[in-house]
């Protein structure tokens, strides 16, 4: 008896969702519209941003020439980093940083981001946490 795996699985077994191109869209998942964006999520957090950034791209040449994937634009849970195609550089929206440390802990595999904490009293404030 030959077995048809489709009997058991909705998709290929063992396949991880993250690597796939055909991740279901929010619409397919029946999400409420408009889908909550990261910007909206950050809108729920209270920020007291400092005037100067506590995050710094060390060498923008690395972003331009070596890092093709722009890893930080995916790994940062607050979407602090954005690739600006026109200007060929990463912009850093430090005001919405959740201070998790992802960018200094492998979120940029090129270790091209210098992260400090904001000055005491500045930055994100969780009301629940």
């Amino acid at each position: 008896m030959s077995i048809d795996v489709r009997r058991f699985f909705r998709r290929k077994p063992g396949e991880t969702a993250a690597g796939r191109e055909d991740l279901p869209s929010p619409e397919q998942l029946g999400m409420p519209q408009p889908a909550p964006t990261v910007a909206n999520k950050l809108g729920l957090v209270k920020f007291n941003p400092d005037t100067e950034s506590h995050l710094r791209i060390i060498d923008s040449e690395v972003c331009r020439r070596r890092c093709r994937q722009k890893f930080c634009t995916h790994s940062c849970p607050a979407q602090v980093y954005r690739w600006e195609e026109e200007e060929k550089q990463i912009t850093v929206a430090f005001e919405g940083c959740l201070e998790c440390g992802t960018c200094r802990s492998g979120g940029c595999p090129y270790e091209n981001i210098e992260m400090r904490y904001p000055r005491g009293g500045f930055g994100a404030q969780y009301r629940f946490g």
């Binding site: 008896m1 077995i3 795996v5 058991f8 699985f9 909705r10 077994p13 063992g14 396949e15 991880t16 969702a17 993250a18 690597g19 991740l23 279901p24 929010p26 998942l29 029946g30 999400m31 889908a35 909550p36 990261v38 999520k41 950050l42 729920l44 957090v45 007291n48 994937q69 890893f71 995916h74 790994s75 849970p77 607050a78 979407q79 959740l98 201070e99 998790c100 440390g101 992802t102 200094r104 802990s105 492998g106 979120g107 595999p109 992260m115 400090r116 904490y117 904001p118 000055r119 005491g120 009293g121 930055g123 994100a124 404030q125 969780y126 009301r127 629940f128 946490g129």
Partner: protein, 435 residues
């Protein structure tokens, strides 16, 4: 202690559970201590996908449950194996957890840590908030104090207890941890707090008034990446989040918030949170490197506690209680050294010995290989839950096939997906790593 004192017995860096337990214990022990917290208040930078346990917390802050801001005492712990469309649910529920001292609680860290800091201040520790420690002061090879980001911001002490949390800026500067936490050793957790009236929470989760549930979900929740999803009930909100090992997240260019959205859309989860309004989004790293990734815990004039010391039991989602206990022990060590006026590495090394004897290091050693195992065995999170669900689905589906035929079919399926040797190897390694 007067305001003019610029030199203290001890400086505690960080006003989270580890730092507060240390400062509280030191103050109670009669030492002059200042605790520096970078947030507007203790807890304002903290989040958690876990529980506060009565026993360890109570051992530092006695009978805290009578007054601390707690959300719900947890009477049910669930573990789900989820595949996206199916789930196998293991549930443990006991009335024992519904009476004092309750075993565990859900809390909002923002208010719970703040309460702990009030107790600490009341015990006599000097709590300085909104102040970031940027560097350490050295006296030869000995750590002699800290440099804060404030004008005239230097502060000296006999000993510095570093309880700075998962981002180990100072631990690295102290030369105790040579490198920043690497992606393989930390998990990124993202979480949302969703508001729902408390009666509705109790209905949906089948809970007595005031009681709570904690659900941990492995499998498809994290898109097959090594990690877990979690759901905790608070009084009138639900905390929903996912935690994923950072290296696999980065390698797969997966976005944590998208994983969270997917998780929220899984039918079993969606049912629980339907109609709940988002109140907060948060993100935090969790040190999951375990025993072998811990920094050196002491040096001349310095001790490390809590997340900074890697004291998280990733398998059982315990961190805050280990932090509390390690902070307490760091403080006890300092109190003992204070008697003899010796804060050398040799004297402070007693901290390590104390820890070795406790549940903290015993548990951490036991699960030392867990993270490594999990990150090298991705399929555990994708394939096995799928197989288990397939098994359950097949057996519970009544159709033309006889049960014997189904058994044969399933056996074949398993063999086609996992060679027997690999299956045995996985189980052996899992057993070694996780038990």
């Amino acid at each position: 202690m007067s305001a003019a004192t610029s030199r203290y017995d001890a400086i505690v860096v960080g006003g989270g559970p580890a730092g507060l337990a240390a400062a509280y214990t030191l103050a109670k022990g009669g030492a002059s201590v200042v605790c520096l917290e970078r947030g507007d208040w203790s807890g304002s930078k903290n989040m958690m996908g876990g529980l506060i346990y009565s026993q360890p917390t109570g051992s530092v802050f006695p009978e805290f449950w009578r007054e601390a801001p707690l959300e719900r005492h947890v009477t049910r712990r669930d573990m789900w194996l989820a595949t996206g469309d199916s789930a196998i649910k293991l549930s443990f529920e006991t009335a024992d957890f519904a009476v004092e001292p309750y075993n565990s609680f859900t809390v909002y860290r923002s208010s719970f840590d703040k309460w702990l800091s009030r107790q600490t201040a009341a015990a006599g520790a000097l709590m300085i908030r909104e102040t970031l420690v940027e560097d350490l002061l050295w006296d030869g090879g000995r750590i002699a104090g800290v440099r804060t980001g404030r004008p005239q911001g230097d502060l000296e002490a006999d000993v510095v207890i570093i309880a700075e949390g998962v981002n180990t800026f100072l631990t690295e500067k102290a030369g105790l941890s040579p490198c920043p936490p690497r992606a393989a050793n930390v998990a990124l957790a993202v979480k949302e707090v969703l508001a729902l009236p408390k009666e509705r929470i109790e209905d949906r989760f089948d809970l007595d008034p005031g009681a709570g549930a904690a659900i941990e979900i492995i499998g498809e929740t994290t898109g097959g990446l090594p990690g877990t999803g979690f759901i905790y009930t608070n009084r009138d909100t639900i905390s929903v989040g996912v935690g994923v090992l950072l290296d696999s997240l980065v390698d797969n260019r997966a976005e944590a918030y998208n994983l969270l959205e997917r998780f929220k859309q899984q039918s079993q989860v969606r049912r629980l949170i339907q109609g709940a309004a988002p109140r907060e989004y948060s993100a935090h790293l969790i040190p999951e490197g375990g025993y072998s990734c811990m920094p050196r815990l002491y040096g001349d004039g310095v001790l490390v506690a809590g997340d900074a010391a890697g004291m998280v039991n990733a398998i059982n989602s315990e961190g805050a209680n280990l932090a509390l206990l390690s902070g307490k022990m760091a403080a006890e060590t300092v109190l003992a050294c204070r008697e003899r006026g010796d804060f050398s590495a040799a004297a402070l090394g007693r901290y390590r010995l104390l820890l070795e004897d406790t549940v903290i290091l015993k548990d951490l050693r036991k699960y030392d290989n867990a993270t490594k195992f999990l990150s090298t065995h991705h399929h555990l999170f994708g394939l096995y839950p799928e197989l288990m669900a397939a098994l359950a689905r097949e057996f519970l589906t009544v159709d033309q096939l006889s049960k014997a035929e189904k058994e044969r079919l399933l056996l074949k399926l398993f063999r086609s997906q996992v060679p027997t040797r690999r299956l045995l190897k996985d189980f052996y390694q899992a057993w070694r790593a996780l038990t």
